[in-house]
């Protein structure tokens, strides 16, 4: 009998998989995720250009001639040694003794010749410089200006000791942070993929209802075989999508596109981490998918499915936030709860794989998650059979939604 179940699930899965893969719209499914990447890249490039154009501040110098030149020279000498951003210095005016300079007016006026991005003005002398700028800029540059002015005012060239570098690969604190970053990256990728793909399952039974083939299916095969087949078909479709996207990304990296920042090697090693990532994706997909299939099975129209999609997305977000929150609280009951709670378990366990080299908990977790997939599928199928495959009105509807009793039982 179990053999018949799986055979029936296979028939349904094969039909659904072929129907999706060989449809004209599948190409849009494949290129869909490339749109945000393309738009993001465009927006990033434009933003960077704007930022370059607008956010390269310059400090103007209005001092006696020698002081101004010394200050510019000192800035040029010190800037490479200083961490962080050091603005360009440009001489606005070489003042004669007793000549005054109205820095406030210059900063208030638009388009100062030779310094369109003028953000501050240094006046006074090297011994007593005056920095005129907005409050934030003053706080930001006061120390820099003092240091550069001191350098400029010193009698001869200063020597700075050469610090011998003794670099270590990592520290315990850094390793902990790096692994947490890897864990979070894994969770984010898992979440993005499941959010992108598991939602498709929501509308999966609407086609059968709209085509009215559901009754033939219900009479021919067990309902849980139908659910199982549909779920695995969509998982296979998702894996095709991931394979294509992964290949495109790999090709782009190979042909010289910038790679993502390197992450710390997960505690279980990269190959095991990728294998577990694949398994946890499958489990997260099956868990959320079976839930969505059950919920979506109750919907009778595409409109109802659309209405359901928002709360379902929110639910996915909550699961992800829960798992992420638990990641930051190792050893607490919150972490344990996220590991045990079936829907968040794949996310939490992937984070564990990044941070702990122990493998046996993953086997337990995968079995636990598989059991829950079976439980949700079976419950969903039974619920579907009880509430949808009947002639009468749905349970719990208010009386004014009820069909007349005669029409209820054809």
């Amino acid at each position: 009998m179990l053999r018949h179940h799986f055979a029936a699930a296979w028939v349904v899965a094969r039909r659904d998989f072929c129907a999706v893969i060989f449809s004209k719209t599948f190409i849009f499914f494949l290129i869909g995720p490339l749109f945000p990447v393309f738009i993001g890249a465009m927006a990033g490039a434009i933003g960077a250009q704007v930022s370059r154009d607008l956010d390269t501040p310059v400090i103007g110098i209005a001092m006696p001639a020698q002081d101004g030149d010394k200050l510019v020279a000192a800035r040029a000498g010190l800037a490479p040694k200083m961490a962080g951003f050091v603005p360009e210095y440009t001489v606005l005016a070489r003042l004669e003794p007793g000549e005054r300079f109205d820095a406030r007016s210059v900063l208030a006026s638009k388009g100062v010749k030779g310094a369109p991005q003028l953000a501050a003005v240094v006046t006074g002398t090297l011994e007593k410089p005056v920095l005129t700028a907005t409050s934030e800029r003053v706080d930001q540059w006061r120390g820099q200006v003092a240091l550069i002015a001191a350098e400029a005012g010193s009698a001869g060239p200063r020597t700075y000791p050469d610090v011998t570098a003794d670099k270590i690969a990592t520290s315990a604190a850094k390793q902990h942070v790096d692994l947490a970053v890897t864990a979070q990256a894994g969770q984010v990728l898992l979440f993005l993929l499941t959010m992108l793909l598991a939602g498709m399952v929501l509308s999966n039974l609407v086609e059968e209802k709209a085509n009215k083939i559901i009754e033939v299916l219900a009479a021919s095969i067990p309902m849980d075989a139908l659910f199982l087949g549909k779920l695995f078909a969509m998982l296979a479709v998702s894996l095709v999508g991931i394979a294509v996207w992964g290949s495109v990304y790999g090709a782009l990296v190979m042909f010289g596109m910038k790679s993502i920042p390197l992450l710390a090697t997960p505690a279980v090693g990269w190959s095991m981490f990728l294998l577990l990532g694949f398994l946890y994706f499958a489990m997260a997909y099956l868990l959320l998918g079976s839930l969505f299939l059950s919920i979506g099975g109750m919907a009778t129209t595409v409109r109802e499915v659309q209405t359901l999609s928002m709360p379902v997305t929110m639910m996915q977000l909550m699961v992800f936030f829960f798992a992420s929150y638990a990641l930051a609280r190792p050893g607490t009951w919150i972490e344990t709860a996220s590991l045990v709670f079936p829907v968040s378990s794949p996310f939490a366990m992937l984070a564990q794989a990044a941070q702990s080299p122990v493998l046996w908990p993953h086997l337990v977790a995968l079995v636990w998650q598989a059991v829950w997939v079976a439980v949700i599928l079976r419950t969903g199928a039974q619920l579907f059979r009880r509430t949808v495959m009947k002639s009468g009105p749905a349970r719990g509807r208010r009386s004014w939604f009820r069909r007349p009793a005669v029409a209820a039982a054809r």
């Binding site: 129907a19 033939v216 299916l217 021919s220 009947k390 009793a405 039982a409």
Partner: protein, 337 residues
């Protein structure tokens, strides 16, 4: 022991939980199904012999589809007993059953052959074999030219025929049709009737629901009439027809006279004819009275009631009884809100 109101006409005693008979393809006793308090099916008893053509007749909303769905295991009864092809779990023998629901449907993007092969695969036939049988069936039924067309490219009638072939592709022992004639033109209705007969000739049990009595009268060995979720009659078609007394049509030369006293109370005069139910005493005493009363008989014919008349009478009685029962059970109105 529970005896149905018209069981004597069916010539069968209907027992609760009877021993299963290998001669029966379907046995159902006391099937009950409620939907949110509304009783859709209320104690249905059905016995379908193997190899028979069995009709389930009933007005719209009588509970025919719900009964069929329970027999097929699509839904479970709230109470009662069912045995289909020797098992109480119909889903276990799904591969030996063909089912054509009232609401037909196939995947529109599938080609006709693929659709049949898919339906065959659901019943355990390998895909390749299903495709071969599908092509063969389409050829046999004059639809070979549509084998590689998508369902959405076929007319509604053709799509229905494709689904019908998909229902039979796995050569089932039991075929269940829910309103199979609806949506078919007269030619295709005739074709379907021939197909049902040939299935029965090959030993396949056919059970179908309909509210068009003529099909049942032409095809069925036995019928069950469902009205208000109950089965007021189950048995051979002739037994249902015998439920009503024959009707007499009389034409006389005389308009009035002593002979009028010989006419029963239900006699009605329409045009040149009198119509009435044949009295229980038979035709001879009636003839004698008419002759002695100088009626001047021009013509007299006795017509046996058709299944349609029997159905109207039986279903009408049941509906009236159900109405009475529901009126008795209804709570007193509390006044308008």
């Amino acid at each position: 022991m529970k005896i149905e109101p018209f069981a004597q006409f069916a010539g069968t005693h209907q027992l609760e939980n009877p021993p299963s008979s290998p001669e029966l393809a379907i046995e159902a006793r006391g099937l009950v199904k409620r939907f949110d308090g509304f009783i859709a099916v209320d104690g249905v008893d059905i016995s379908v012999p193997r190899g028979a053509i069995y009709g389930i007749l009933g007005p719209n909303g009588a509970g025919k589809t719900t009964t069929l769905r329970m027999l097929l295991g699509i839904i479970d009864p709230d109470s009662g007993y069912r045995r289909v092809l020797g098992t109480e779990r119909p889903t276990e023998v799904a591969r030996r059953i063909g089912y054509l629901p009232e609401e037909r449907g196939l995947y529109p993007a599938m080609k006709a052959t693929e659709a049949i092969a898919f339906l065959a695969a659901l019943r355990g036939v390998p895909l390749k074999e299903g495709r071969r049988r599908g092509r063969e069936l389409l050829e046999q039924h004059g639809l070979g030219y549509a084998a590689d067309r998508q369902i959405r490219q076929l007319s509604k009638g053709m799509a229905q025929q494709v689904q019908l072939l998909g229902t039979l592709v796995h050569e089932p022992d039991l075929v269940v049709f829910d309103e199979p004639f609806s949506g078919l033109d007269a030619l295709n209705q005739g074709k379907l009737e021939r197909m049902i007969r040939s299935l029965a000739e090959r030993g396949t049990t056919v059970i179908f629901s309909t509210h068009v009595i003529a099909h049942a009268e032409r095809l069925c060995d036995q019928i069950a009439i469902i009205a208000g979720g109950k089965v007021p009659f189950a048995g051979p078609v002739d037994a249902a027809r015998d439920r009503l007394r024959p009707q007499v049509r009389l034409e006389t030369r005389a308009q009035d006279g002593l002979w009028r006293a010989a006419l029963p109370a239900d006699a009605r005069h329409e045009g040149r004819f009198w119509y009435f139910t044949l009295p229980e005493s038979g035709v001879e005493p009636l003839l004698r009275a008419l002759i002695e009363g100088d009626a001047g008989i021009l013509s007299l014919s006795i017509e046996r009631p058709g299944l349609h008349d029997a159905f109207v009478a039986i279903a009408g009685e049941a509906a009236a009884r159900a109405l009475e029962e529901s009126a008795e059970q209804a709570p007193e109105p509390k006044g308008r809100r």
